[in-house]
């Protein structure tokens, strides 16, 4: 049994949260620079120029990439022989609270959605996901803050199990057309297919974690991702909704087993500042 020191969990979560918030990952920066290079639309170039410049300014000023420093999801993946500390939610919350304080992140979480929208002051509680699917002795932590504007673009449809590729394509394009303009495009589209309504949404969010520029392991899904990306980029919404050919920089699909009567389709959209950071312990 590999027993994990509680202090390491808190420190790692803190460090990953700070890094994700300030220092945009190279895969996302590369995709945005490429978008700027290929864009011909004048207003879209204005927006992409600032988006790319902002990445560098955030690093230099050591301030968050976006003022919406997001609502934090933390994914902990561990091997069958790894023993996590018993107070794991508290340790993760404490890591995020420290990052909020020490890196001057915005406190953006209220404790109740309706009657008591009182700010908790430290971005807790964190949405924690524990998955015992890593190899022997392995432990990895991914910190994923997601902004509220792009979260409002999340959509779910329960399709007939007989729906085909054509219908999925039409629906995804329509869903993106409806919500991408207010989700800070160029967006990254995460699609969760299958499962039940709740796990389809989670799969859509997890699809955003896959590094940009990597292919889906199954050829049919990889081809569908490319088809969807091209169809979305023909919409002409463009960077900041101002037009041009860069409405999305990537489409990722995560598919899973489902019931014979179901075909859940979840579309989870990230703004261009797709911030996530992973560390292995």
């Amino acid at each position: 049994m590999r027993k994990i020191d509680p202090v390491i969990i808190e420190e790692t979560v803190r460090d990953l949260a700070v890094k994700a918030s300030i220092d945009l990952a190279p895969d996302v920066e590369f995709a945005l620079r490429e978008a700027l290079e290929l864009e011909r639309h004048k207003l879209a170039r204005y927006a992409l120029g600032q988006i790319v410049e902002n990445i560098q300014v955030a690093r230099e000023r050591k301030v968050p990439i976006c003022q919406d420093t997001g609502y934090f999801s933390v994914f902990i993946r561990f091997g069958p022989d790894v023993q996590l500390p018993s107070n794991i939610q508290r340790l993760v919350d404490s890591g995020i609270a420290r990052a909020t304080r020490e890196a001057y992140l915005r406190a953006s979480v209220v404790k109740d959605p309706l009657f008591h929208r009182v700010n908790t002051g430290d971005n807790t509680p964190v949405q924690l996901h524990l998955e015992q699917d890593a190899g022997e002795g392995e432990l990895s932590i991914t910190v994923f803050p997601k902004g509220g504007g792009s979260e409002n673009a999340t959509q779910l449809e329960m399709l007939l199990p007989t729906a085909g590729v054509r219908e999925i394509e039409e629906r995804v394009v329509r869903m993106v057309e409806k919500k991408a303009p207010s989700a800070c495009p160029p967006v990254v589209v995460g699609i969760g297919l299958g499962g039940s309504a709740d796990t389809a949404l989670l799969a859509g969010k997890k699809a955003l974690l896959r590094p940009l520029g990597t292919k889906h392991e199954l050829e049919e899904y990889s081809a569908l991702e490319n088809q969807l990306l091209q169809a979305i980029n023909r919409l002409g919404i463009g960077a900041a909704g101002l037009g041009g050919s860069n409405t999305a920089i990537a489409v990722h699909i995560e598919a899973q087993a489902t019931h014979i009567a179901n075909l859940a389709l979840a579309v989870v959209i990230s703004c261009h500042a797709l911030r996530r950071s992973t560390g292995k312990i």
Binding site: N54, R61, K62, Q67, R106, N119, G121, G241, C271
Partner: protein, 176 residues
């Protein structure tokens, strides 16, 4: 061509020079307000109470700042989605609001209200918050301190880059 500079607050007449689709650099005073501050201000209007700030002739920036790091007047401060303010904006335009800065298109009713009141809607690039925050030279909390980042802050801007989205003649950057 040099990008025109707009000093805020500005005389109404000068808003005529701002044409949809054009760049501008803002200097001077704006007030931040987002969802909850809008809800409270419109509640105040409905119940006949005074607004916490005089908005006649002023500009509102839809934004909630990060806390400034030591030695900096502001941290990151980009625009939030404007359409969430759509139900409230027409009431503020009626009270003399001269313009708003945010991101994304507005509802047809709100766009119509900007035109009716000869006010302008400007957009900044969503997510360019570290860059935009570096153009904020002073930041002071002036109302609703209990709302934290959602309170109303008075900002002094310098060289703050925007595009004109809706001009006073009905021009619309999103419908080109």
């Amino acid at each position: 061509m040099d990008v025109p500079v707009v000093h805020l607050p500005t005389e109404r007449d000068k808003l005529r020079n701002l044409k949809a689709g054009c760049e501008a650099l803002l200097w001077g005073t704006v007030f931040t307000a987002r969802d909850q501050a809008h809800a409270r201000m419109v509640e105040a209007i409905f119940t006949g109470k005074d607004l916490p700030i005089e908005i006649d002739g002023q500009f509102i920036y839809y934004a909630g700042p990060t806390p400034p790091p030591p030695g900096s007047p502001a941290g990151s401060l980009g625009p939030t989605t404007s359409s969430r303010m759509d139900p409230f904006t027409p009431h503020l335009l009626e009270k003399g609001l001269a313009g708003a800065i945010g991101k994304g298109p507005r509802s047809p009713e709100t766009r119509e209200a900007f035109l009716r009141h000869r006010a302008v809607y400007l957009i900044a690039v969503g997510g360019a918050a570290a860059l935009l925050g570096s153009r904020v030279k002073e930041m002071e909390l002036v109302a609703y301190p209990d709302l934290g980042a959602e309170g109303i802050y008075r900002l002094q801007l310098r060289d703050f880059p925007v595009l004109v989205a809706y001009d006073v003649f009905g021009g619309d950057i999103f419908s080109r």
